[in-house]
Assembly symmetry: D2
């Protein structure tokens, strides 16, 4: 194996509203710095905690049993409950660290995990639980997303709602033009706003869990009230930024906006969104564009979908090889894991969407002076 | 319409190997600066021209009739056929400019084009042909991609091949583990390496063209010999960078890597890529990961797919409204257009993949001193 | 000598209003892309040419005899005389190329030039005239600066004036609180607004020229009407950005803002700028801060000074060694050179100040939506 | 006063080796994230503490009495004493917070402080002690600098030493070609390696302190063993990056490299550094270039000097106005302050130099693959 010592990582996202995460899954904490957050915004831990609670493990029997309170502490950027325009730092302590769980894996790269590639790239690797590649890192993103959302909501009335739109081969109907909120999404453990479909989804997740296996699926997200004009062509098109943000989430293998892959099977005459008047503004009769044309928001809801592969960690033996090339039977993990990441992925998708939109808001500006 | 005067664009991509495009579709030229290109590389216009020729309009009756020689001129960065490590500037003159073609559209935003959003964002807009939102801008990307490819090939043996994997509802079989080259792809006008499927595709494209309509489809791309270790977690994961690059191409509405959306319907036990020895290195038995784990290349071929919507420009009347909100019947365009962008999109996809990989190569490094 | 092949350069400056220069001194042209320039600004070559003319060689017998018309051509970003918010590209052709002049220098690094370091870094080097390290590269900066200035003047009423404040040991009195313009500065060839001092300066420059030697000096610059609030702490403080911009100009070895080095010899009680009312706004009685406090403009004129070393190219023999370590007598150059770069440096200093301020303007913003 | 709400700050420096500081002077802590630090480096708090101790207040009667243990805690990026290539986060708690000290200043902008400009820019401001504009923020820089230095020393043998070269009008002789270390510098409280001059400096600082006043001065820094080839023209020249880094330190008003301002009074024939052989490599007989030619290190020691204004906080009454424009007599501060920041500025200068050089090291690279 070719060792590339002396190499490093890219832990920041954004141009003006920038987010940098830090912390290993089994180190003392994970955390995040939000730079470029406007001054004068009311902000406290209470704005951050609800989304962290939605991402937290152990919410239902559909997800991992790791117990984490995931309490946010804000270390900087705020005085008297108001942002100062300085970096906002949020830290979430790791309470339930069990590095011992991973000891046996020292010499075996887990299939479809990042163990092998991190070792190939960095020469060293965190001894346990994936280090930075762990899903735990997304807690920091969720904290940052909550700050971004607060700014978007107060400053621009933007509203972001995501839900599980498919699990395995169970697909929910298209609900992207609905006006429901997160309470509707949270009405069931799987986080699908269609109650009947949710039940079917829960059934297949439980069956997979019983069999020590895992399922994949998709999360759909709609961002309402995004002002026409956000998005920066050529290379920072809104869909490009959203796509990169989603594809940076562990386990995401695909992204589509508006009509997406299904749209490739349509004719242009069917697919085009013709213009109509909507409450005094130019709108479109259909929304196959997903609220974006030429990389710039057009005032319609921004709609996209992310594909999550089935969790790589399973409770079944796998025949693979170790770093020395020896055949090994990798026994079922004792560590905690999710048979299905989808319900907990919902707030992560919302967070990444908010982080992108906050940055686009900060770039679509008018100077003062 | 809310006018945001005094706003601007993001025309650069990359961190170390950076590419900046410029030029309007009906201005004097389009062009590109490649910064961060290594010194000491043999380079001339002859390296750039072949891919420009593959992107050029008017290659077959499946594509637009706009006539452009698209001859590349290198203005800087080279002396005696060798790169100096300084910015390489490539310019492609616009010969066949017909701004008059677009005069009637001054007050009518074309459905599913960027006319409306550019005007919403910038207050002014190029009078014709989409300005920067035109597909013509991709000529500059192809020029930059050719430079990136030369570096990748000479420096690292990387080979990039893309092809049309579906057109409308005609799908080619999975050929991502093949070892064919661009000559195989170019054996037919539609650029699908399966000759039988290519014929079916050509048929539906011609039928759509005859009916003044357009079709969409997908382009699949494989990057061979990408060294294990390229890709920068957390936010510059290889799939995130590739996804953003593809989604920045006009008409792209979706991106997937490896198993992608189809993978969401698999169980973890089926989906995981177990490790096997391959010619002395750790490889994987299957490649559902698409050559990337945890955002870092694992040494297997990098495989991804981009979804192109059907061309928005059609030769059929459309019922829409103008900027004043008045109902108008938008008559078939006299301007040139493609019934299907897919064959010409192939070199654009290859170019953007090369641009991303060249940057990843430049970031995955060992210091000297 | 350790050759670092495969290394490249950083040719861009700015975060939102970004400027990228390209082109070698003896290649076909030098040029610049200005990205992030607001849409809707009236702009033509006529805005750029006057500063290029002030930088042009051959204006007087105090400067180099190289003959360049230095005519700006705008290749993109403008339609009907109005910026589109897209990248503005300006190209200046190199007419008077004489690569032959440099042939004898192939194996001798010129003392206090960049020949040696470029070769150490890049492995190859432009065969003549310094390539990118040549002062010719500053023509591209001046073009970009003229665009920045137009935006600053139209958008914010900012006015920038620089002049030669010392040449050798001839120092002009402090004129930083004056309200004179460029016409006053241009009243003499040395570009010092104090006519008597200007004459003394011209005398020593001519004497040095006669002796085949060169002189250094300083350029002072004042930026009037910079709004309080521009500048981005912590690391993009206005003085840090201005300092970096000045120190990126060839031959600059020092930078100071406000009281600068002289201020280090004062007591705090003398140095502090107490506040007073000025036309309804808080101003300061003195301006030792140079218009900046804590990295942010305070509404007073921004005043700084750049130190230029004596030109390294001289018409006298120098005893040095070649790349093989052999003693050589480097005979007087036949190529063209300036005995004193100061008069031509004045528009370069103004340009770099404008480029920095335009970026600061674009970052000190209020979002709209 | 024009209030610019919704504006934010730039708290990061660097392209690959990036440093982001956070925390207010009277909040819970100050801290820093170092991203881009190579994997595989031995690192612990013990590497960071010595420089923090040198920056710490209360070291002698020449500096402020604020009592801070300034103990570094590393929160991420390290496992078993080895860096993982992930972000290294260091936090320093604020123990001695006295917000009450600043209550009376709520409505009075302190002369030559950042109170006025921060309020002008951000609309809100930290209620006490300057918030982010406080010198306390430099503790975070020193922590990052210590990490950078460890990398530079282990990876490249680079050695950085700074000292007080002038205080008020007492100037030390030029010692930039010496080979002394920090122990020599620390032999006296003022940190001037010339014992006699140090005594004179201490005398004038004490006299100023007795009179409730403050003095300024300069810090000179030498960086030894910087490999030829570091530094990135055009805009990231080594001197430009070093200059920006120094000018971002509170109270710095000037920067010069090599011969600096004094060099402007020399002739080219005196100033040029001719080449000579030095231990088998091309070196220069003199070092007026300060180790940099054309923005790139030439292998000689990199030498620069930073000018610090006299501390703005003094224990004397000042006649000024408040935010309402009313005349006020600002009584001597009760808060802690330094009559002379120079001795404590020495490790800050070293830290910023290390941060710049580490980034230059990471950019001057050779790809592997």
């Amino acid at each position: 194996m070719n060792r590339w010592e002396f190499t490093a990582m890219a832990n920041s996202i954004g141009t003006i509203f920038t987010v940098t995460t830090f912390g290993e899954s089994h180190g003392p904490c994970v955390g995040v710095i939000i730079d470029g957050c406007p001054a004068g915004l009311e902000l406290s831990e209470a704005d951050v905690q609800p989304q962290l609670d939605r991402r937290r493990p152990g919410q239902s029997d559909l997800t991992t049993g790791r117990k984490e309170a995931d309490a946010a502490r804000i270390l900087s950027g705020i005085e008297n409950g108001i942002t100062l325009g300085t970096p906002v730092t949020v830290v979430i302590d790791n309470k339930d660290r069990r590095p011992g769980d991973y000891r046996e894996l020292k010499n075996i790269p887990r299939p479809s995990h990042a163990d092998f590639t991190y070792r190939a790239k960095y020469g060293v690797s965190a001894s346990s639980g994936g280090g930075r590649a762990s899903a735990r890192e997304t807690a920091a993103r969720v904290a940052a997303g909550a700050v971004a959302e607060k700014y978007l909501r107060v400053g621009h009335g933007v509203e972001i709602v995501a839900w599980v739109s498919s699990a395995g081969d169970i697909e929910a109907p298209d609900m992207s033009d609905g006006d429901f909120g997160r309470d509707t999404v949270d009405a069931n453990a799987i986080r699908c706003p269609d109650a009947g479909v949710a039940e079917e989804m829960a059934t297949i997740v439980k069956r997979a869990a019983d069999e020590g296996d895992s399922v994949g699926g998709t999360v759909t997200c709609v961002c309402r009230n995004v002002p026409a004009g956000w998005g920066e062509p050529i290379f920072d098109k809104l869909e490009a930024r959203l796509g990169a943000a989603m594809l940076s989430i562990p386990a995401v293998k695909g992204f589509e906006v508006g009509s997406g892959f299904a749209g490739t099977r349509m004719r242009g005459s069917e697919h085009n969104d013709v213009f109509v008047m909507k409450e005094g503004r130019l709108g479109t009769a259909s929304n196959r564009s997903g609220g974006i044309q030429g990389g710039i928001a057009n005032g319609e809801p921004v709609v996209f979908r992310a594909a999550f592969k089935p969790t790589a960690t399973i409770k079944r033996a796998q025949q693979t090889i170790d770093y020395d090339g020896q055949q090994v039977r990798l026994e079922p993990r004792k560590g905690r894991h999710d048979p299905c990441v989808l319900p907990r992925a919902v707030p992560v998708v919302e967070a990444m969407a908010a982080i992108v939109l906050a940055d686009m808001a900060r770039m679509a500006v008018e100077p003062i002076g």
